[in-house]
């Protein structure tokens, strides 16, 4: 018997003017696995991720996370329900230190009031120490603890990507969406990233990742979903997908047209 | 009633002209120039210097003002726009406001604080029908707006410059890569934007008199119009301008003339609450 999927999306559709970027996509992600979404440029991968995380809402469809409907919920509500993400173009908080970047998300589920802050009462101190501990744990996972007090902008590019992952982890998500996490990384950095992803998977977090680099994805993914022109054209284990003639056509065909 | 409509439309035409000047600059570089009102004031005073101080014919004063304003627009671009490319919008807002302060106080030093009048370029007895009086100057304002609207429409849609401008607005880097002289396009936009506000100044001065501090409130009205019409939207700017002129005239007559300047803002806030991007929608897309 297959377990209840942690993400269950039905008929997700997104239009930009006349262009249909997502055309009734269904997606089921079983808990605890690494699932990849691949597809040629402009196939709707990031649009799907944006629809799931609420960054740019879908026009129609249903999206459930852990059984709860999140369609058209505000992004911060979705984040608090246990769905965290990173961005294709890095979006760290430039004016905060490394640890403060992570603390923003670590505070996700410890609400605080202005009254508590102003009086610096016990509740405030407890929540701040909680946040600090969570943030340091998250930095430890990606190996950035030593740079905690630096300004986020002082980190080199690849480490800024890791910082985004740490920030996403600090909200203690059930599902982690990674949007092209290896973009701009060299070989060694990509390998470290793969190790981190494996570590996260073994800690029980479900990972959904969008990746342009198909070879990188195949090694770590349990399941692969292939999009083309906003439609799901294949789904299955990496080896199943690799043999699928439609997938080969989508990648090779496109390359021919470009050439 | 009919008289109020005519007066309101005449006032609204001037607001529309200010908004059209803003639009030209906004459509090219996505910058809102908060010194547009001070440019208007400058236009009025250059006209007055020519026509009143140096006693040139009014037509010559108009021609000189338009040329001078084109130069002012280019200087403005060099001083305010170039150093701030790619910087956050509120810094641009503050820089243009600071430029407005500079212009206003230079005008106070040069021309003094007293209000001055400028003759209208055309004379003649007012038209009357059904109890409504339309002065020649009002008629001239309507015609000027119509001509400028037509010219701007043709400029944006039918000429090479219009296409260059749109390309520049959509993607500056690509525009540059495909060999568009981006800087020249932007310079033309700034020059035209300044000329339009100069014309608005020449049209206002015969009705309300000109004084160095006149720009602030007229400039703000231009933005209110742009906001109501949706930034960068040509029909929106014109309809918004006329609409605002009517609201102010009727509000001053039937509600209270003390709060004349408040109606514009109340209408604007109401519009924004209902339509956060203006009645006619903003003509720019945001990338997520």
């Amino acid at each position: 018997m297959t377990p209840e999927p942690i993400i269950s999306a039905r008929g997700v559709t997104r239009r930009f003017g006349g262009l249909v970027a997502l055309d009734g996509v269904d997606l089921d992600v079983p808990p605890g696995i690494v699932q990849a979404i691949i597809g040629p440029n402009g196939s709707g991968k990031t649009t799907l991720l944006n629809a799931l995380s609420g960054a740019s809402h879908a026009d129609a469809g249903s999206i459930r996370v852990g059984g709860q409907e999140i369609f058209r919920l505000k992004p911060h509500r979705i984040a608090r329900l246990g769905l965290a993400r990173t961005f294709q173009n890095i979006r760290i908080f430039d004016n905060l230190s490394v640890i403060e970047n992570v603390k923003v998300a670590a505070a996700c589920n410890s609400p605080t009031s202005l009254f508590n802050i102003l009086t610096a009462n016990v509740r405030h101190k407890l929540s701040e120490s909680d946040i600090d501990r969570n943030a340091r744990e998250a930095l430890d996972i990606v190996g950035l603890v030593r740079r905690a007090e630096d300004r986020a902008t002082q980190l080199p590019y690849a480490q800024q990507r890791l910082l985004e992952i740490a920030r996403a982890l600090a909200s203690k998500p059930k599902v982690l969406l990674l949007d092209e996490p290896a973009a701009g990384m060299n070989m060694t950095e990509s390998m470290t990233l793969l190790d981190t992803i494996a570590k996260l998977k073994s800690s029980g977090i479900t990972i959904l990742l969008v990746e342009h680099n198909v070879r990188l994805v195949m090694g770590i993914s349990d399941r692969v979903t292939v999009l083309d022109f906003g439609k799901k054209i294949a789904e299955g284990t990496p080896s199943e997908v690799q043999r699928n003639p439609q997938v080969i056509e989508a990648y090779l065909g496109r390359r021919h047209r470009h050439a | 009633m009919g008289q109020l409509i005519v007066n309101g439309l005449a006032l609204g035409s001037i607001y529309a002209l200010v908004a059209l000047g803003l639009l030209l600059i906004f459509n090219t570089v996505q910058i809102v120039n908060f010194a547009q009102g001070q440019l208007l004031m400058l236009g009025a005073f250059i006209g007055i210097s020519c026509a009143v101080t140096h006693e040139l014919p009014v037509a010559a004063a108009w021609a000189i003002t338009m040329v001078a304003m084109a130069l002012v627009g280019i200087v403005f671009m060099v001083l305010v726009y170039f150093p701030l490319r790619g910087r956050p919008a509120f810094l641009v807002i503050l820089t243009t406001i600071a430029m407005g302060i500079v212009l206003e106080n230079l005008a106070l030093i040069i021309w003094g604080p007293l209000p001055v009048s400028l003759p209208s370029p055309i004379h003649g007895p007012p038209l009357r029908f059904a109890g409504v009086v339309i002065s020649m100057h009002q008629l001239f304002i309507f015609c000027t707006l119509a001509v400028i609207l037509l010219l701007q429409f043709l400029l944006l849609t039918k000429t090479r410059f219009g296409i260059l401008m749109q390309a520049t607005a959509q993607d500056l880097h690509t525009a540059r890569l495909v060999g568009i002289s981006v800087n020249r396009t932007i310079a033309v936009a700034f020059a035209f934007g300044a000329v339009l506000s100069g014309i608005a100044g020449l049209l206002v001065a015969p009705i309300f008199l000109a004084e160095p501090t006149m720009g602030g409130s007229l400039g703000l009205k231009g933005f209110v119009v742009s906001v109501i019409g949706g930034f960068g939207n040509l029909p929106g700017a014109v309809i918004g301008g006329l609409f605002l002129g009517l609201i102010e005239t009727f509000g001053a007559r039937y509600i209270s003339s003390n709060f004349r300047d408040a109606y514009a803002f109340i209408v604007m806030i109401a519009v924004l609450i209902a339509w956060p991007r203006g009645l006619f929608g903003e003509k720019s897309s945001e990338k997520v």
């Binding site: 992004p75 961005f87 905060l96 102003l118 | 820089t95 206003e104 408040a262």
Partner: protein
């Protein structure tokens, strides 16, 4: 913690000033500068940290001042006025903030300018209550159960203490969940949202806190300067407050104080320039924005760096 010696030095200078400057006029000017500093620290929550442009700060300043003046002139005890002023500006900031916090830059700039203009027009034309353009005079002074500061110097010490408190509270908020959420909202609204930050609530809170700072400063302004007029809270003042923030250094509490001090004292010191002062002021603002985007505070932080590179 090398910030403490600097703070102690600033405090010592601040406390010693009245002993050096005997002139009542200078102390009065400093009192206004301190009040402006409180207003600018309030503005920093909104613009410096949360990244929302706000030209309504002068109107909140004015609302606080007029509330206090009208209440005390009507015979209410002074001790009620800080609460009344805070309530009025909180209500006003909610009224303005709730519908507008989703608006983007230009729209927000225009809405806040419009709000300021509407408040100014009400003050100018509601003459029986506000005194119209000539303002309100002989406003009762600060008095807490019969005790209150007498003379400029005592007011100065009281205001310095309140400024210190305002700085302390601002610093505490900065290093809390709320402060981090504000800066996250400014740096990337979408990333903040996806990290669980309710950005609309954060902006609204920043806006309200900023308004309360301005409202309380207005309350103190009315009862320590004891004369108010619409000119002190016009849109020109709103632009001046924004300039103080940017010239001082956005996002830096220290910068807010420096900016407010500099731009309150400078026009008086350069009074001989007449109209030319405002021309230079405009050009100076452009100069700072173009050449030193971090404001005067960032110039100060360059100094130790240079020393380090020499060693």
């Amino acid at each position: 913690m090398k910030i403490w010696p600097i703070l102690a030095a600033c405090g010592a200078v601040a406390l010693a000033v009245p002993a050096i400057a005997q002139d009542g006029y200078i102390i009065q000017l400093l009192n206004i500068a301190i009040l402006n500093a409180i207003v600018v620290i309030g503005l920093n929550f909104v613009t410096g940290w949360t990244g929302q442009i706000n030209f309504g700060q002068a109107a909140f300043y004015g609302l606080g001042a007029y509330t206090t003046a009208i209440a005390t002139k009507a015979g209410l005890p002074w001790i009620t006025t800080p609460f009344l002023s805070a309530l009025v500006v909180m209500a006003a900031s909610l009224m303005l903030g709730l519908p507008t916090m989703r608006l983007r830059t230009y729209y927000l700039a225009m809405t806040t300018i419009g709000f300021g203009e509407i408040i100014r027009l009400i003050i100018v034309h509601w003459e029986p209550v506000t005194g119209g353009t000539s303002g309100l005079r002989a406003i009762p002074g600060i008095s807490i159960f019969g005790f209150g500061p007498q003379g400029q110097v005592q007011h100065y010490y009281l205001l310095i203490a309140i400024l210190a408190l305002a700085i302390l509270i601002a610093a505490r908020i900065r290093h809390s969940t709320l402060g981090r959420a504000m800066i996250a909202t400014k740096d990337s609204e979408i990333a903040a949202e996806q990290s669980g930050v309710d950005t609309v609530r954060t902006k609204l809170l920043a806006f309200m806190i900023g308004a309360v700072y301005a409202g309380l400063a207005g309350c103190l302004y009315a009862s320590s300067i004891r004369f108010i007029s619409p000119d002190s809270f016009s849109s020109i003042q709103a632009i001046l407050l924004m300039t103080m923030l940017i010239v001082g250094g956005m996002g830096s509490i220290f910068g807010c104080v420096i900016g407010a001090l500099a731009l309150t004292i400078l026009p008086e010191a350069l009074r001989f320039l007449g109209q030319w002062y405002l021309v230079l002021y405009g050009l100076g603002v452009i100069g700072v924005i173009v050449l030193a985007p971090g404001g005067l505070a960032s110039l100060a932080s360059l100094l130790p760096l240079r020393r380090a590179s020499v060693n």
